[in-house]
């Protein structure tokens, strides 16, 4: 009989951890408080006005936007120039769940437009999905949110082109042609676009912060009027254009996203608060260390942030609370962008999968490119906005 060692080992580890639990020590108790404070902050500030509408938008994209129509531009016979452009932005509608990125990457590489567009998609996908942009912009700030999206799009094209230049001549083993997905529901594009736009309008208006005065403040004072109009518009479109079945499917997909992402996000919030503290507080890791490692905007700080982000695994959206904690503990804006750009795109586990798809050499070059690009964009961003 094989000796079952796993369970006793786990039980022993849990017991030892509980036995030596440092309850009562100021830093540990403080860190627990910080974790709970950050969790409450998210529940109060970000769930109702930001996350809930964002899930509805993500659900609508998943149900109403024909994915097949996007994949047409990334197929084997696609226009090569167009393929890069589409690959760099299509993550916003295709890659809401991080587990869909890798199969799509593998598909584009093997049976679609090839290495360049595939790596462009792989890099930008996790960074520009709709939920990630919305949460980054509302929690961490619009400047970093926009910089993250723009940086991901620009650098994905650069990385894709370099990969194609370096390895383009090598043959790939071509898989059988992609299976045609069934035709997407026939609703004109402008109806879907308008429907999504009105929901995005609500989200932007509801989260509008007063800020710099002038036009910003003027919009701020009427933000609820704008948000209300957007809700009315959404409801009207829903009633006129969408059938009951579509409505149910939309709600189902929204619910699925929420159920899938919220537990991960809140676990991430607790861990980030515990280790790094809520804004204005300090968690288990002293703020001094964070500031030494990734404070300011030196090349070293940017490189360190990019490399750490590249190795670490972030579950969908958890990069946001972690970054928030790091920024609160003294991380510079440049290194923050570097980590946002390198982090969700690669991690140790997904490097292994990428390697199984395109081999060790290409994977190494890709990882190096991502780290270098993220470091560069962080440094440049830090010079202007840091």
């Amino acid at each position: 009989m094989k000796f079952e060692w796993k369970r006793p080992a786990i039980i022993l580890a849990v017991f030892l951890a509980a036995y030596f639990l440092p309850v009562g020590q100021a830093r540990f108790d403080g860190a627990i408080g910080e974790a709970l404070r950050l969790l409450r902050g998210y529940a109060r500030q970000h769930v109702l006005l930001c996350l809930v509408p964002a899930f509805f938008i993500a659900g609508a994209i998943a149900v109403f936007v024909g994915q097949a129509s996007v994949m047409r531009y990334l197929g084997a016979r696609a226009n090569k120039v167009l393929a890069y452009g589409v690959a760099s932005v299509s993550g916003s509608i295709l890659a809401v769940c991080s587990c869909t990125v890798l199969p799509l990457f593998s598909g584009i590489y093997r049976m679609g437009a090839g290495l360049g567009p595939a790596t462009a998609f792989l890099y930008s996908g996790p960074a520009i999905n709709v939920l990630a942009i919305i949460l980054t912009a509302t929690v961490i700030g619009p400047t970093l949110g926009v910089a993250r999206a723009a940086g991901a799009i620009v650098f994905s094209i650069v990385i894709g082109l370099i990969m194609q230049l370096v390895f383009g001549k090598q043959d790939r083993e071509i898989a059988p042609a992609a299976v045609e997905s069934e035709a997407p529901p026939a609703k004109p594009l402008w109806k879907n676009a308008l429907f999504l736009l009105s929901m995005v309008g609500f989200l932007v208006a509801a989260n509008w912060s007063g800020g710099a005065g002038g036009l910003w403040a003027a919009v701020h004072s009427v933000r609820w009027v704008i948000a209300g109009l957007c809700v009315v518009a959404t409801a009207a479109m829903l009633a006129r254009w969408f059938s009951r079945g579509e409505l149910l499917e939309w709600c189902g997909s929204t619910w699925a996203f929420a159920g899938q992402i919220l537990p991960l996000l809140f676990a991430g919030v607790l861990v980030a608060g515990f280790m790094l503290g809520a804004p204005g507080g300090e968690g288990l890791i002293p703020a001094r260390w964070v500031e030494q490692a990734v404070g300011g905007n030196s090349l070293r700080a940017n490189f360190f942030a990019a490399l750490a982000g590249a190795l670490m695994y972030f579950a969908t959206l958890t990069e946001v609370p972690i970054l928030q904690g790091l920024l609160g503990a003294g991380m510079g804006k440049g290194p923050a962008l570097a980590m946002l750009l390198a982090g969700p795109a690669i991690s140790l586990p997904n490097m292994l999968v990428i390697r199984s798809v395109m081999g060790t050499k290409k994977t190494l070059v890709y990882v190096v490119l991502v780290v270098v690009m993220a470091t560069a964009s962080g440094t440049i961003f830090g010079m202007f906005f840091g």
Binding site: Q67, T100, M111, G112, A175, A256
Partner: protein
Amino acid sequence: MMKIQILGTGCPKCEKLAANAEAAAKTAGIDYELVKVTDINEITAFGVMMTPALAIDGEVKLSGRVPSSSEIVKILASFD
């Protein structure tokens, strides 16, 4: 015996599809074997880009979404 294959890297949607397919096969009362294909290269070899996907006896029937179990029952019925 019918071979029902679930293609997906192990995300919650794939689990949902596997559960729905199993329920459908039981409803239809057929003799089946449920296989999960999680290796990404194998999935690509099926010609599938959007997971989760459902294949029956090696032939891809659906990809990119999770069908209800009653929908799968219809697919299964068309095979008999």
